[in-house]
């Protein structure tokens, strides 16, 4: 009995409630000693810098629930294609040989295990708000009304250009087949 009454009177110090809409969940401040950008340990929404993506499909293979779908087509090495707003060289300076025509992540299936961010050579896939929060603020309130809106499509190739490249792929396959 004495304990519960004791808790009642030191309510100011001991209480735990976080009044949600006003007080937000404190983002765990993290500095890991050396370059913060190389470590990305936060579990929130996945985003992709498609400009840096070289289409190596490592994240697609690493995902245990296979919620990432990537399609690429061959392009000349390292040369910009403005109408498909595709940059030839990534920010780390590697030459790109593939144009990413489709990069979809289905956030309803993602299990937030963060296994896809480690193998990426260009570190272009990461969860928002981690040590790289300078680029993107943390966002853990991304619910949608329609389930299909949870499928994020990151490739920036406009639809008509997509047809051109897609048909180019069939053409090349036809040539290989004959």
């Amino acid at each position: 009995m004495k304990i519960t009454i004791g808790h009642m009177f030191k309510i100011k110090r001991g209480n735990v409630t976080l009044q949600y809409p006003v007080e937000r969940w404190p983002r765990p401040e993290r500095h890991i000693g050396f370059s913060a950008d190389s470590y990305n340990v936060i579990r929130s929404r996945l985003t992709v810098d498609v400009d840096d993506c070289i289409g190596c499909l490592k994240c697609q293979r690493a995902c245990p629930v296979s919620c990432i779908k990537i399609e690429t087509t061959k392009v000349e090495k390292g040369e910009d294609i403005s109408e498909a707003n595709h940059r030839g060289v990534t920010s780390n300076g590697t030459q790109k040989r593939l144009l990413v025509t489709r990069f979809d992540i289905d956030m309803t299936e993602c299990c937030y295990c963060n296994l896809c961010t480690y193998p990426c050579p260009e570190e272009c896939i990461f969860m928002v708000g981690g040590p790289n929060s300078s680029r993107r603020e943390i966002d853990y309130e991304f619910s949608e009304y329609d389930r299909n809106d949870m499928i994020y499509r990151f490739s920036k190739v406009p639809f008509d250009i997509l047809q051109k490249y897609a048909s180019a792929v069939e053409k090349s396959e036809v040539e290989e087949a004959t």
Partner: protein
């Protein structure tokens, strides 16, 4: 005592060559046929030197689509002597029958029901052999390598339809 000592005691009781270790498969498992296992189980439990009173785990194994037989692996452990033994009993897929050890180790009751549920291995002498994890009217044994997924179950479509994904 170590594995060799245990095998000596078993062979002393059941005749030479009863329990043998063939190195190329694995160093620490005794391979038996279902009938041999039926005789050995009560012996392992009762003899004071062995006294395997805790059955750690019973695992059902499907040895592959082409290998044509199923197997059950028993891991035994003795609390008193603190030694372990693994017994590997394999049987053809055509009639998967193994004598049940449910009366000897009570934990085997649920383990065997799970192996029956997932692999369809019949445990003779089991008092209450029915499915434990899956619904009782589920057909097919899921963990077999040659198991194909049913499209629907009682009218419920199993894999989700999502537009614009495939």
């Amino acid at each position: 005592m170590d594995l060799a000592g245990i095998i000596e005691i078993i062979n002393a009781k059941f005749g030479e060559g009863f329990a043998s270790i063939d190195e190329e498969v694995s160093a620490d498992t005794v391979r038996l046929t279902p009938e041999q296992w039926g005789q050995l189980a009560p012996f392992l439990r009762k003899t004071p030197e062995l006294f395997f009173d805790a059955m750690m785990c019973i695992t059902g194994i499907d040895e592959g689509v082409e290998s044509e037989n199923l197997a059950v692996s028993y891991n035994l452990h003795s609390m008193k002597h603190n030694h372990k033994l693994e017994i590997y009993v394999s049987m053809p897929k055509s009639d998967p029958k193994v004598p049940s050890v449910e009366q000897i180790w009570r934990v085997a009751d649920w383990f065997e029901r799970e192996v029956y549920d997932m692999f369809g291995i019949e445990f003779e002498g089991h008092r209450d052999l029915r499915r434990i994890l899956l619904p009782s009217d589920w057909d097919g044994f899921p963990l077999r390598k040659d198991y194909e997924f049913p499209e629907t179950w009682h009218g419920i479509v199993i894999n989700k339809m999502k537009e614009g994904w495939e």
